[in-house]
Symmetry: C2
Subunit: 301 residues, 2 copies
């Protein structure tokens, strides 16, 4: 047990969370969401992505969002960039860091970004080279790290292999993502152990979905391994459109509640966070997918 | 880390789960629910309670339910009995074991059963004496073990104190209940540690609510302490009417999914369990409060 005393939450609600919303969310609402999250204490936030608006129309206004938010020096504003065109958009928008992603599953990679794992890494090479030259940090994500939607075994070694390649390409963080939410605590520990055998523990992040209700147990398992970089999504916004049945980013409120109870500092004010969860959920006209946000509604004084 | 290889799930859906349903559930549905759960592999099940039908009308037909279920020798059928009248009803119904409860909170005890903790123990004494004389095992529950709804601190020592008294009165199991679901993993471990200092670890059970989404993380923490007796409720049925805002027994499906993934044997067939969760939820005309039951709907072949 080497629990961290402090963690960094990477808040993904404004991008990963909103990207598949059918209802178009105006830039002004996204700006308010991001600013409220920052005001609640979020220090690292995904603000959008530079991808084809044909594929992800909800993110077509990322440049506008980036332009309109009041930036704070102590906050990292990150955007997702799958290719050079996206990278150039990200740089032009003034993003503090960029994100790339691959998967530990060949099948998932094919369906999600239409290429093999090896090809995805080659495709990212110009982006990562350019980012390095420009001094822009980037984080990398490994999808399907705890299981695949396509009836195949994902070994901890396969996750470690991709993680090492992404790290060797210069990623300052490699985020282990349970894209379909099937992970359980022992599996989680085994995968983290395998990855920590090939890259430093300090650069490993975790991004667990709550599809089967397991996210917090898995975060606890990760914390017990010494992991201190967690992704989550305000109000539990979002999921993954390409993974059948995969809904359920874990709600940041539920993660922060657990961390608060454990005396682990996330720097986030739970009350402001819950208010923000209800702000975006009211806009979307549904309740937050968050036990904490629902339990605390009307109790925040 | 001393994870058990095998656990006993005490299934509470048919009593704790249904007792506050406004819609009356006919005895025949309760009987089918219980028999389906047993067919899924449940070996210890709460079938009802012998309490005043004025207070809990939903449980008025427990004798009928007990009479109608096809009993199996390898299954323990338990009923809740707050007093001698209830005890007599339980014995007449052929219950294998009885349950009594107290709380680690004086305020909660007052509001819930209208007496002090000490008085509640005195009140139970004739019941436990009678059960001992008749050779009927009883389990005891300690409410509010991880927190109180009434703005008061519940110390681990207070939980240990009540637990020891209940154990000394002859309980074969003392179940630590997070009645309002506010517990987090470190607190959980501290309370279990305190209780294990005064009674054997093997007799400690846990009953955690998911009001703030923390139940599985807390069960993981308990498993890591060596606890192997867990309570849960099919479809996440039930909560606690006297604790403001307290909804949320954790769903047995979500617990079993985690255990299966960890290679911990619960003896329960997840597929049959999920089918049962949908059986009772369809009757109640709402979706199960279970991530697993919802994620697996239509995927069970």
């Amino acid at each position: 047990m080497t629990l961290p005393s402090k963690v960094r939450i990477f808040e993904v609600g404004a991008r990963d969370g909103l990207q598949n919303e059918k209802q178009m969310v105006p830039a002004g609402i996204k700006v308010e969401l991001i600013e409220r999250l920052v005001d609640a204490g979020v220090k690292a936030i995904e603000t959008g992505s530079f991808v084809s608006p044909k594929w992800v129309p909800q993110m077509a206004d990322t440049a506008e969002v980036m332009e309109k938010i009041s930036r704070r020096d102590d906050v990292t504003y990150a955007v997702l960039t799958p290719n050079m065109k996206g990278y150039e958009g990200a740089v032009a928008s003034g993003a503090d860091e960029i994100e790339i992603f691959s998967a530990a599953s060949e099948k998932f990679n094919q369906r999600n970004i239409n290429c093999s794992i090896a090809e995805s890494l080659e495709r990212f090479a110009p982006v990562t080279e350019a980012a390095k030259a420009a001094g822009i940090p980037y984080r990398a994500s490994v999808s399907c790290a705890l299981g695949s939607p396509f009836d195949e075994e994902i070994t901890p070694e396969a996750v470690a292999d991709v993680s090492k390649k992404l790290y060797d390409m210069g990623a300052y963080e490699v985020s282990i993502a349970d894209t379909i939410g099937v992970g359980t605590p022992i599996r989680t520990k085994k995968v983290i152990e395998a990855v920590a055998n090939v890259i430093p523990l300090e650069v490993i992040g975790v991004h667990f979905h709550d599809t089967y209700g397991q996210a917090l147990a898995n975060y606890l398992a990760a914390l017990e391994m010494g992991i201190s970089k967690l992704d989550s999504s305000v109000a539990g916004l979002g999921g993954c459109p390409y993974a059948p049945g995969a809904t359920g980013n874990v709600a940041t409120e539920d993660v922060v509640y657990m961390l608060d109870g454990m005396g682990i500092d996330s720097g986030i004010d739970l009350k402001k966070l819950v208010t923000t969860a209800w702000f975006i959920s009211d806009f979307l006209d549904r309740a937050p997918v968050s036990s904490v946000a629902r339990a605390l509604k009307g109790k925040l004084g």
